[in-house]
């Protein structure tokens, strides 16, 4: 059964899109990530124009982070104050990001930059995760207790001015690195269509030394707003949010996530992280290959009105 995507302007097989959404939802539930960084490249592999894939990916992130954030809100593991400070940076970053996005699109380098950024980001994050999880697996096999670096030691981040007290997180921290982190992730959200949780969570734990129990909820809280804002701005400036595609993806995604969570609870943490790392690297590699192999047709035609 095919369904016509009005904004992407092509007909797709609905079962492939449902399958994609369910698979990414399953993985995101299993690994506790938003899945934006998987859905956007997958859509691009399925010939959805990158412009549409990014904006629609951000829309799917809204749905998946909402259902996650509600769970954390019930458990009381969201630091609203910290999330709001992150959000201020995030909204500014998303604004700059959409501006960069439109600029790149105008000069015809958008597809390239999206692919390059994905290769770079997925390659780096995948490698770091793989190295970390393999060493954790080695230690576990030698029956040693894995020593996760304890937050609490101070680093250069804690010497910055403009400090603010975050009661829920029980920390006293400068707002500069928090806003800067939000800003950086905000740019990634609007240029790449990712929520950015997979960068935000480690940065909050290792760089800002925020207690692990509030990190995921707080990052989800701010991702909702930054990605919602990105969707609205992308819709207004690039007309590139495909609501049909987004809806099919999010329905399949939220259902897939429920099963993912159940499977995830049965696997061990370091095994999970090693699997996720391999997956991330595979997606990055696939995009890298695309950039290097000679294209079938070196000319492309874009019409001013349609844009892709």
């Amino acid at each position: 059964m095919t369904v016509y995507l009005p904004i992407a302007e092509l007909s797709v097989n609905i079962f492939i899109i449902l399958g994609m959404g369910a698979a990414v939802g399953f993985l995101s539930g299993m690994f506790g990530v938003g899945g934006g960084f998987l859905i956007t490249p997958l859509l691009i592999f399925y010939n959805i124009p990158p412009v549409v894939a990014v904006a629609t990916g951000a829309n799917q992130v809204v749905a998946s982070s909402i259902s996650g954030a509600i769970t954390h809100f019930r458990r009381g593991t969201i630091d609203i104050k910290l999330g709001t400070v992150l959000l201020c940076g995030g909204l500014a970053g998303a604004t700059v990001g959409v501006w960069i996005f439109s600029f790149l699109r105008r000069v015809g380098q958008l597809d390239l930059v999206i692919s390059l950024m994905y290769v770079l980001l997925l390659g780096t994050v995948g490698t770091l995760m793989l190295v970390e999880s393999i060493s954790a697996l080695r230690k576990a096999s030698k029956n040693q207790v894995g020593t996760l670096r304890r937050p609490g030691q101070h680093n250069w981040v804690h010497r910055l001015p403009l400090k603010m007290r975050f009661k829920k997180s029980k920390i006293y921290l400068s707002v500069i690195p928090v806003v800067a982190l939000g800003f950086g992730i905000g740019i990634l959200t609007s240029v790449m269509g990712v929520g950015g949780g997979f960068i935000m969570v480690p940065a909050m734990i290792y760089l800002l030394r925020i207690p692990t129990n509030v990190v995921i909820g707080t990052s989800l809280f701010q991702i909702i707003f930054v990605s919602a804002y990105t969707v609205i701005v992308q819709a207004s400036t690039n007309y590139s949010v495909d609501i049909v595609l987004a809806f099919v993806l999010m329905i399949a995604g939220v259902i897939g996530a429920q099963y993912g969570v159940r499977v995830g609870q049965r696997l061990r943490g370091e095994q999970l992280r090693a699997l996720l790392a391999l997956l991330v690297l595979a997606v990055g590699l696939r995009l890298a290959v695309e950039l290097v192999i000679p294209p079938k047709e070196i000319y492309t035609v874009v019409s001013a009105g349609l844009g892709f």
């Binding site: 998946s64 909402i66 015809g108 007309y239 329905i251 939220v254 492309t300």
Partner: protein, 264 residues
């Protein structure tokens, strides 16, 4: 008031569209060309997969001898709405394929279906076809902006034609016009599956023994209908509300999921 201004502007643009082609000066010919289509508006539903449009026409004041010798030739073109189009060329830079050079052509039709009594290259000299811009190979492709020494102009033009023909929006059918009686003819032009919305123009040209005689043009509005079209219109006409709707949809989906699958 605004609606009236809009209609006036629309009529004006229709008139200018129809009057647009700079035609070769017709000589002292007695022949006249008339064409008709059953409708001036086509509504296309979302499951549209392409169709043929039939255009009827007649040659008035024809010369019986020339007709008998088959020396009258007719070319019918369906031209889509015009827009600028940019052609980009990829080159390998540090091992990666990057768009490096580009050229923008001014106001080229988004779609173009040509139908004729025979191959248009044999109907009239290439120079005449070029000056009238009939056919994909003779269409006017005027670059805008800085194009350097213009040495790669033909390369970009060829790439543009190739891309448009490969995607099926530019088509030609060198047997699509048939005489059904001595002076009455029927032309079928193809509407591609992704026919663009907007005002198309049906242009018919009459040639006598390799000479251009007469031309006629009729506007044809293509309006897409259905839910998909409503979505496209909403996305372009009220993009802010559309964005909010997209977010609301995500919020409701996410919230419902957390209610339905609540386990704690």
């Amino acid at each position: 008031m605004r609606a009236r201004v809009f209609i006036a502007a629309l009529l004006f643009s229709l008139a200018s569209l129809v009057a647009a082609p700079v035609l070769a000066e017709p000589g002292d010919f007695t022949e006249k060309l008339d064409i008709g289509i059953s409708t001036d508006e086509i509504a296309i539903t979302s499951d549209f997969r392409g169709a043929d449009l039939t255009i009827f026409g007649a040659i008035d004041g024809f010369d019986g001898n020339i007709l008998a010798q088959g020396k009258y030739n007719i070319v019918v073109a369906l031209e889509g709405p015009k827009d600028n189009a940019t052609v980009r060329r990829k080159e390998r830079v540090f091992g990666i394929w990057i768009n490096t050079k580009s050229m923008t052509f001014e106001l080229v039709p988004e779609s173009y279906s040509l139908s004729s009594t025979r191959d248009i290259e044999t109907i009239a000299p290439t120079g005449d076809m070029n000056s009238m811009g009939i056919g994909v190979d003779h269409m006017r492709l005027t670059p805008t902006g800085y194009i350097g020494d213009g040495s790669n102009l033909s390369e970009f033009r060829d790439a543009f034609r190739r891309a448009r023909e490969n995607s099926g929006v530019y088509q030609r059918d060198p047997g699509g016009v048939q005489f059904i009686s001595s002076s009455l003819f029927k032309a079928s032009v193809r509407l591609p599956a992704d026919v663009p919305n907007g005002v198309h123009v049906v242009r018919a040209y009459l040639f006598r023994d390799g000479m251009f005689v007469a031309a006629k043009a009729l506007p044809l509005r293509v309006v897409k209908t259905g839910i998909e079209q409503a979505i496209t219109r909403a996305a372009h006409e009220s993009p802010f509300l559309y964005g909010i709707l997209a977010v609301l949809l995500a919020v409701i989906t996410g919230w419902l999921a957390s209610v339905v699958f609540r386990r704690d």
